[in-house]
Symmetry: C2
Subunit: 309 residues, 2 copies
């Protein structure tokens, strides 16, 4: 039984990651596309999810939503209501509260809802979690810095309310942190840096802790040029653990321990295929919850305007 899957939203992330990863994973086929102004050679294309659902009937089992978070709720609801398994790109929604009705609907329909966090499938994440499970943790420092012009060219939605700004990459770091640390964290301080001409932050400086008082600092910045830093450093009583390159490389006391090629989206689709066999759900909202908390508790700092060109 192959999972016949349609992609909704054929933008950068769908072309760079979803399409090639589906091709690599056994048990899942790409059979249709719904996108406002894009199509793929040889595949039936539709302008939106409703047109797709009306046309494909029982020939599609699952829908992978790669559209921006604003408005994705309605698409997910339509697909679930039609009895399709649904996979959500991160973040799973524009708000936390909108996910609960989708969870209820998926359960009612007996289908899978998978809120994905691709960075959790980076090769060194699980080894890092295993290491930290037995360690005494002294401090955590997250540095997630990249050039927005390079990584998010002309992505207007990302600057709109609900688009998350620098938290769009930053939530990847939070998805790893919440996966590898043995205790839940919560925010103590949040400084958000808003370009005076934009509705979303270009940088954030966050201070978390946990029930043991562990200091957890996270710095997100989109103003980095000349290379990116996607690192998480954890000082422990068993040495210093460093995840680098977004979770691909693990260092213990600066000695390389894990270094595997990128396979995050292959991991996501393997997981999706597995979940759909029993109609299971995998919905962890904690990364998005921390972002919502960062806005709730955030102190706004005005910084210079961001001009794309």
């Amino acid at each position: 039984m192959t999972l016949r899957t349609a992609i909704v939203g054929l933008g950068k992330i769908a072309r760079d990651q979803h399409v090639p990863s589906i091709a690599k994973v056994e048990g899942v086929d790409l059979v249709a596309i719904a996108s406002r102004n894009a199509s793929l050679d040889g595949l039936p294309s539709f302008s939106d999810v409703n047109e797709l659902l009306a046309a494909v009937g029982d020939d599609v089992d699952a829908v992978s939503l790669c559209t921006p978070p604003q408005g994705r709720h309605a698409q997910a609801e339509a697909a679930l209501r039609a009895g399709k398994h649904v996979m959500l790109e991160k973040p799973p929604g524009a708000t936390v509260s909108e996910i609960a009705p989708l969870v209820s609907l998926a359960k009612e329909k007996g289908v899978t809802l998978f809120a994905t966090w691709h960075s959790r499938y980076a090769s060194a994440v699980e080894p890092a979690r295993a290491f930290l499970a037995d360690a005494g943790i002294r401090s955590v420092h997250v540095e997630w810095k990249e050039d927005v012009r390079k990584w998010h060219p002309n992505q207007d939605w990302i600057w709109q309310p609900g688009g998350l700004g620098v938290f769009d990459p930053g939530i990847n770091a939070l998805s790893i942190v919440t996966a590898i640390l043995p205790r839940p964290i919560f925010l103590l301080r949040s400084d958000l840096f808003f370009p005076e001409n934009r509705a979303a932050p270009i940088a954030a400086d966050l201070e978390f802790t946990d029930a043991l008082g562990t200091p957890v600092r996270a710095e997100f910045d989109w103003r980095e040029t000349g290379g990116e830093t996607w690192s998480i450093h954890v000082e422990t009583d068993m040495g210093k653990l460093s995840l680098r390159e977004g979770g691909k490389k693990l260092f213990i006391d600066d000695v390389l321990n894990v270094d595997e090629p990128d396979q995050e989206y292959v991991g996501l689709y393997r997981r999706f295929v597995e979940l759909t066999k029993t109609g299971a759900l995998d919905v962890d909202l904690s990364p998005l919850q921390h972002v919502a908390d960062a806005f709730l508790l955030g102190r706004r700092r005005a910084v210079e305007a961001f001009i794309e060109e």
Copy 2:
């Protein structure tokens, strides 16, 4: 067995509501105070919760936290760790995520954690819920408007990050809405009006919906003068329901149906006494979740500076 209770944070809400309500409720006694710069005649007073806990030992069973939400987490944790039942004024924290570790700790200690929403104990709220359970709901309109100078004089914390601004009263409306509507709601749009000299909004205009597409509009405004409006109007196929005066009065098609004197905090303490008998928890975060979502999805609108005097 009387519940010997200490109040932490002897500010406006503690004096106006908690102290007189405890006096009215059977099964609970006020036995100590912890407050930075206030005390109550005839009661042992301490400067903070840690000093209180160190001094009182087994002579206090419960702690009612009436301090501002910023920093309350550490107080709650200290009290729970000492094995005390804990009652939290609303909002239960400065973030949503900080509550989960408190829930775990309360369960570990076998004590009660009660995240209170006093407006849910207004007399007309339960009759409104019962009416709406059987009604077809067409639309909801929340108007929560008051004069911040009258209701929150010199409350500096309320304008700080985590102090919620106009959501401090607005969350009362949301606590009622989430109690009386039969389906969960989620945000579609959030406009937040920030005075140019303040870190919290003075007004908010929110558009929610639910799984049936019901329009739910909420308007919060602190710039109201000449009287306050704390109303929730629900158009249904069985007529128009209106909650007025913060939930004290219920009208069906503009005919007064329920009109009881204020007893919200008496209801809270009755509930607290009941919960502590078995160490049960009552923690519903949905009102704070909606506020976090409103900040996450919020579009900021700058409005004129707010000068207290």
